[in-house]
Subunit: 161 residues, 2 copies
């Protein structure tokens, strides 16, 4: 059954990579001006979603126990505060770099992980609770973050003509 | 390692169920008039997305080898044809029923499946190809359909005030 775990983690990583590629393609095709627009009237701007996803993916490193966050300064701006709050945002080109860098670091760590390491606990659950709830593992974080990425991808598509 | 497959399928099913619940909540909260609106100017209407997702989920039954589709008539309208093509659509209350019914049938089948059955092939890959590509199994369909659901959920949220 070792093989089945390798299969399931491969499937989960494929889904993650497919969505990272799709969202990269959307961001790469959009100019900074296009990214500054709201994805739908009165909703988040593309820049906010870029910063939000960069912050969320960067925070996956410590959440998965795979390293420190590189851009914790994005969290108060793009996770704890909504768009159009008046808080100053970093320049778009910087956010583009954070996004690619966070995903690059995750890819590097993911590539060196053994299948059974995906069943280890993530760092926001205690060892004690993890004994009772073993499904709160790294794999569950990967699936929920892929779905998070897919939901914002659906919104970012509206910035394209 | 039997246990690890049970864990991973539980995690994947949890993610599916969470998104079904969230999208149900959105549809239940929206009136038929609100569903008739475009999720964003010039984009799909809520009704189209409801029919589209009902059609896609209904088609999961044969794709997963778990039964026949109940609403194949939705496929040409909501999968093969874009919104606003002029093709007549079924009434919204009927689409709401198809959506709930398809998901109900899937839930029933999923609940009776053993973990190892998720590693069996889906019906759009031949037995021969499946030997070479064992990751093209039922679990991969579940993950990709959950991401599909999440991406449209992100869009449907724009119909809410």
């Amino acid at each position: 059954m070792e093989n089945s775990l390798e299969l399931t983690t491969t499937i989960a990583l494929n889904a993650w990579n497919i969505h990272i590629d799709r969202v990269n393609k959307i961001f790469d095709e959009l100019s900074d001006d296009e990214l500054a627009k709201e994805v739908s009237p009165g909703r988040n701007t593309g820049i906010y979603l870029l910063g939000h996803m960069a912050a969320v993916h960067d925070a996956m490193l410590p959440l998965l126990g795979l390293g420190d966050a590189s851009y914790p300064q994005l969290v108060p701006i793009f996770i704890r505060t909504p768009d159009k709050s008046g808080v100053e945002k970093p320049p778009v080109n910087e956010l583009r770099k954070c996004w690619k860098d966070a995903n690059g670091k995750l890819a590097e760590r993911f590539n060196s992980m053994k299948p059974e390491q995906w069943l280890e606990r993530h760092t926001s659950i205690s060892e004690e609770d993890f004994k009772k709830e073993p499904h709160r593992n790294r794999l569950s974080v990967l699936l929920s973050r892929t779905n998070h990425l897919a939901s914002h991808m659906g919104q970012l598509l509206f910035l394209k003509n």
